[in-house]
């Protein structure tokens, strides 16, 4: 089920109403049924995968909890890791690796014929797999206690607001919340609904509108160069942010309505002054997952320099691969790893130059840092969005061709008009991006909705209506696209 569907518009109020009507003790049953139903609306059979992961991790954790010896515990941890990562590998990476091995052998005229795995990629598999994996690793490390109630644990794995695209929650944060009685609280419900509304605005108004240009251009690259590629790339930079942070807002908001607090996933990432700051603000639940379960176990930064660089690079490489079985994602991850390593290497010379120019921490310096980080992130997004490496190289090599040529601009206008995007639509899109970033800027001083609570009634309601009517009238409903992160 999609958040931006009519189905969800009915499903959510029904679940919330029932949630507050039934006693706390039985609520997990409702949440489990609702979550499984939510997932099964997409594909019924694949619920089996969630159930398998749930059962294996539940029993593995139970066994680990009973044991004191690390070596014995390790066997159960391996069972959890192998089964979860095995399912993930089978559904997500097998075909990719198989195809590449095949072409490698073809190169040497060696016969190799293992048939492809003809199954759809289960929605959200990377998200719930990582969530449940973090649980077993935490139990192994004695950071959390094994959950005794299978039903509650099953809700933790499949909790519908964050099931298919996160935030990837930690067991010690989310699990205890299922045992707390959440009464109906007007203020909390209101904040939740407001956050959902803002999430919908970002997704259906901004992201879906930008997607028309981005998809039109990136799926027909031969027809475009210069301006169109620049605009499509900038638009994708904001599309992916609005799409994913929009999803996170709806997830966090809908959980909040029922009294659950999910972790913040985005903190105005395009205002970051460095790539390392960007990763503290972008997809926080995933970047902290990789930090805690891969980067630190590898040794983190408390090792010799080359090993530190290696740890960083590997972490981002794996993070890229986590996103999808395509070289484009691997390059995207590798690029970010390279950015971070370069930043460490160049730190001292940069300091010397800044001190020499005496511009350190000036407004100019901050604007430069934000702009430069934005451009680096946008450049990396080219690989993330391109359908393959050849396309990404085409984009990079044609970004600035014919930019000064008016004919190219008018051809772009013609082609965009063909996509149903006139100059007015482009201006509206840029306007919406500015509106969203101003909103983000205002958020810097604290939660916007909390600040708004103390503003005059007319102002509050005007904001609500602007957002609501924006959702109703500015969204391209005939071209609604799926959430980008569903594919991961």
């Amino acid at each position: 089920m999609l958040f931006n569907s009519l189905q969800f518009l009915i499903f959510f109020p029904v679940v919330v109403t029932l949630f507050f009507l039934i006693p706390q003790k039985r609520r997990w049953i409702l949440l489990l049924i609702a979550s499984y139903y939510f997932y099964m609306c997409w594909k019924v059979e694949y619920i089996v995968l969630i159930i398998i992961s749930t059962l294996i991790d539940y029993f593995a954790a139970q066994q680990m909890d009973k044991l004191n010896e690390k070596a014995k515990k390790k066997k159960w941890l391996y069972l959890s890791l192998i089964s979860n990562l095995g399912i993930l590998f089978g559904f997500k990476y097998f075909n990719f690796i198989n195809e590449n091995v095949q072409s490698f052998f073809d190169h040497f005229n060696v016969f190799y014929n293992i048939p492809a795995f003809e199954f759809l990629l289960p929605v959200g598999i990377s998200f719930y797999t990582f969530q449940t994996l973090s649980y077993t690793i935490d139990v192994y490390n004695c950071k959390t206690k094994a959950q005794k109630q299978l039903g509650v644990f099953a809700v933790f794995v499949s909790f519908f607001p964050q099931l298919v695209a996160g935030p990837i929650e930690r067991s010690n944060r989310l699990l205890p919340q299922f045992f707390v009685k959440h009464d109906f609280n007007y203020e909390r419900v209101r904040f939740g609904l407001q956050q959902m509304m803002w999430g919908f605005f970002k997704k259906v108004v901004i992201a879906d509108r930008l997607a028309i240009v981005v998809d039109g251009v990136y799926n027909n690259l031969d027809n475009y160069s210069g301006f169109a590629l620049i605009i499509a790339t900038i638009f994708f930079t904001f599309q992916i942010y609005c799409d994913f942070s929009g999803y996170s807002d709806i997830a966090i908001g809908s959980a909040r309505v029922m009294g659950f607090e999910l972790m913040e996933n985005f903190k105005r990432p395009y205002f970051s002054k460095s790539i390392s700051e960007f990763w503290k603000r972008w997809h926080i639940s995933l970047s902290t997952w990789f930090r805690d379960y891969l980067y630190i176990p590898l040794g983190g930064s408390k090792v010799v320099k080359w090993k530190w660089y290696y740890n960083l690079f590997i972490t981002f490489l794996v993070s890229g691969f986590w996103h999808g079985a395509n070289f484009t994602f691997i390059v995207w991850g590798a690029l970010h790893g390279t950015y971070l390593i370069s930043a460490i290497i160049l730190k001292t010379p940069k300091e010397i130059i800044l001190n020499f120019l005496n511009i350190k921490n000036t407004t100019f310096h901050k604007i430069y840092q934000v702009t430069f980080t934005f451009l680096l992130a946008s450049f990396a997004w080219i690989f993330f969005r391109a359908n393959n490496i050849t396309d990404a190289i085409y984009v990079i090599t044609h970004l600035f061709t014919d930019v000064g040529d008016y004919t190219n601009f008018s051809v772009m206008q013609l082609k965009l008009r063909g996509l149903g995007v006139g100059m007015n639509d482009l201006l509206i899109s840029f306007g919406l991006i500015i509106f969203m970033e101003l909103f983000n800027l205002y958020e810097r001083g604290g939660d916007v909705w909390l600040k708004l609570k103390y503003k005059p009634k007319w102002l509050r309601w005007s904001v609500y209506y602007i957002i609501m009517f924006g959702i109703l009238f500015l969204a391209p409903y005939s071209k609604v696209s799926n959430f980008i992160y569903f594919q991961f």
Binding site: N185, Y186, N223, L414, G418, G420, S478, K479
Partner: protein, 308 residues
């Protein structure tokens, strides 16, 4: 009931009130006769505002009153007199057109019409300027979605504009539109429209295949398919020389003649070199439209040429 829940329901109710009011307004004003519940606004007023989206109006109208015979095309087929066609053939034709329709939209309109009617006769207006990869637009998808989902129709920016315009025109009268100066518009069409259409040309790769699919479908369902190339004034047609596209035009005519019956009026003839036969370089007058129809529906072609 819990006090906090009462607050939420009360405030929520107030919050959605304007939205429900808007829904009621759209259903009552119903500028495109989508719901057909109640006629609060005269059809004439509606007509004045439907210009904001004639494609939607024509599609909904066709869905509400489907016929077995259709003429599909851009604004140039709009003037073909369907009454005269009925006199000649006994069949009721519906003109499913859109201003500035592109070939891919015309093809989409054909498939849309098959959803609502068991077609017998189809005339598709197709001229060379549409046979261009750059002449692409995608408005039919929006129309299809709106027809299928009333909520998309109600909460649509263009519909909102049309509703407001309908209400304004009903309250304050329909503003009289100033007639454009014929010579000025003539020159604009020759200089600007032709430039927009011909200065960037790319062979449309998929179009022939798509037209063939229509042709195959028509053969399978025993539908009479005619492709019609309406006349453009020679001033406009001669722009092809300026933009070096004569060979492409020949290729276009050859290719579409392989699809089915094609009647061509756009070649040097008594209509194309007569300025008074046109309201502007690409739209014929009523009397010429009558001649085209007579040619199309009687066995003897006087001006039109059968392409083979």
């Amino acid at each position: 009931m819990n006090t906090e829940l009462k607050i939420l329901l009360r405030k929520g109710g107030v919050f959605i009130l304007p939205i429900i009011t808007w829904m009621i307004i759209v259903v009552i004003v119903d500028p495109f006769n989508y719901f057909n519940f109640y006629e609060a606004i005269s059809q004439q007023t509606k007509k004045s505002s439907q210009k904001l989206n004639p494609l939607l109006y024509n599609s909904i109208n066709f869905k509400n009153n489907p016929t077995n015979s259709v003429i599909i095309g851009d604004s140039r087929v709009r003037k073909l007199p369907t009454k005269r066609i009925q006199e000649l053939t006994g069949d009721t034709y519906y003109t499913l057109h859109s201003n500035g329709a592109k070939l891919n939209e015309i093809i989409d309109l054909f498939w849309l019409s098959t959803k609502y009617s068991k077609l017998k006769n189809v005339i598709i207006g197709i001229n060379f300027n549409l046979y261009n990869e750059y002449a692409y637009s995608n408005r039919t998808e929006d129309v299809r979605e709106m027809i299928n989902n009333p909520l998309i129709y109600i909460f649509n920016y263009t519909i909102a504009k049309t509703v407001c315009l309908s209400i304004k025109n009903e309250l304050f009268g329909i503003p009289i539109q100033k007639k454009k100066n014929r010579n000025d518009f003539w020159n604009y069409s020759i200089n600007t429209t032709a430039k927009n259409q011909y200065s960037k040309y790319k062979y449309p790769n998929m179009m022939l295949e798509k037209l063939k699919k229509i042709s195959d479908y028509c053969k399978e369902k025993n539908i009479n398919l005619t492709l019609l190339i309406v006349p453009n004034h020679m001033d406009f047609h001669d722009q092809l020389v300026k933009y070096n596209l004569l060979d492409e035009e020949i290729q276009f005519k050859e290719e579409i003649s392989s699809i089915g019956r094609v009647i061509d009026f756009d070649y040097p003839n008594s209509i194309t070199n007569c300025k008074s036969c046109f309201t502007d370089p690409i739209h014929t007058t009523d009397s010429i439209s009558m001649i085209i129809v007579n040619d199309l529906f009687t066995d003897s072609l006087v001006v039109g040429k059968l392409l083979q």
